[in-house]
């Protein structure tokens, strides 16, 4: 019986789209971020607060992934994003690079310096799909329990930044910040942490300052390689 060597990555088609996205964004000096979290951790809230604070100095474009509805895209527009596109995956549990490419075709890239992609709320599936991003940010919140990094190690291992959100609720929930940090560091010693509350605004200055600096540094150095 004939045997045919294939020797190809299962996600080669996705990787080709992701490479195309990097090629489209790099010469325009657009810095891109993939926001990932479980449902309700606060991806949209962090986007809103970030746009409110940085929108005046950086043109921020948003690709809003959601299983259904455009409610989050409306929140983002109200916060002052330069450009917003909604992707509805109709049941799919993660975004893929071809969906991001299709969304990019609807954006006016001349009006975007920082592109933030809100992935589908899910701590497992989105991880395997490279979206052509420069930075992976995982958002986790104090209401989810402090064992999430150990239970969903891969997403925390592959992120460059972990944002712990809803710290305003720390007095009311059983969440040990130190324990959560230790678990993440065990998976990812180089990770960068931010502890924020999108409700009270705590920690948002540090996050926004760092993000603005990082986006500018990426732009001026022209280095778009994801450091994984």
């Amino acid at each position: 019986m004939p045997k045919l060597t294939i020797a190809q990555n299962i996600l080669a088609a996705n990787d080709t789209y992701a490479a195309g996205i990097r090629q489209a964004l790099a010469p325009r000096h657009i810095f891109s971020i993939n926001f990932m979290s479980s449902p309700g951790a606060g991806k949209t809230a962090l986007l809103e607060r970030t746009i409110e604070r940085l929108g005046g100095q950086l043109q921020i474009g948003v690709i809003e992934g959601d299983v259904e509805t455009s409610a989050d895209a409306e929140r983002i527009e109200a916060a002052g994003a330069s450009e917003t596109v909604q992707i509805n995956t109709r049941g799919n549990c993660h975004l893929e690079a071809h969906m991001v490419q299709a969304a990019l075709d609807q954006l006016d890239l001349d009006r975007v310096e920082l592109l933030i992609i809100e992935n589908i709320g899910n701590l497992i599936c989105p991880n395997a799909w490279d979206l052509g991003e420069d930075l992976r940010v995982v958002i986790t919140s104090t209401t989810e329990g402090d064992d999430k990094p150990s239970k969903y190690p891969q997403m925390f291992a592959d992120a460059q930044v972990v944002v712990i959100n809803k710290i305003d609720l720390l007095p009311y929930v059983d969440y040990d910040l130190e324990k959560a940090r230790r678990q993440v560091l065990a998976l990812n010693p180089q990770v960068r942490f931010f502890e924020v509350s999108c409700r009270t605004g705590a920690g948002l200055v540090e996050w926004c300052d760092w993000l603005a600096d990082f986006a500018r540094r990426e732009v001026t150095s022209g280095s778009k390689e994801l450091q994984r």
Partner: protein, 126 residues
């Protein structure tokens, strides 16, 4: 359920190769899956068989999965070890400075098929 999307990608690649090579029937597809890839064998096989059932070229095709251990090498003392649950701490010196050396594979290795015309099989490798 990312295994479903993975199974879809696999069948797309395999069907394309099967057509290019005038296959009548694909019997086996071999994969290399790293333990650090987050892909679970059971659901992947289940999804593959489900999709294969809807694609005439793949009817009854079997998935053979070879797992690769998730391993790292310590940058400090050069110890090589299997990574337990993604925690990349060297068991010898206790440092957190290792590089992953295997276990992220997500490869389609090869496939076995029955050719349309048994005599004139010409393998097209692209």
């Amino acid at each position: 359920m990312h295994e479903l999307a993975m199974a879809q990608s696999i069948t797309e690649v395999v069907v394309k190769k099967a057509r290019e090579n005038q296959a009548r029937q694909v019997n086996t597809v071999r994969l290399l899956i790293g333990d650090g890839s987050g892909v679970v064998t059971g659901p992947l096989t289940f999804c593959f068989e489900m999709i294969a059932g809807t694609e005439p070229l793949l009817t009854g095709a079997r998935l053979e999965i070879e797992r690769v251990p998730h391993r790292a090498r310590c940058r400090v003392c050069a110890t090589e070890y299997t990574i337990p649950d993604f925690v990349i701490c060297c068991p010898n010196c206790g440092r957190w400075e290792s590089e992953v050396i295997s276990g992220t594979e997500l490869q389609i290795l090869d496939m076995e098929f029955e050719a349309e015309n048994e005599q004139g099989v010409q393998l097209c490798q692209n």
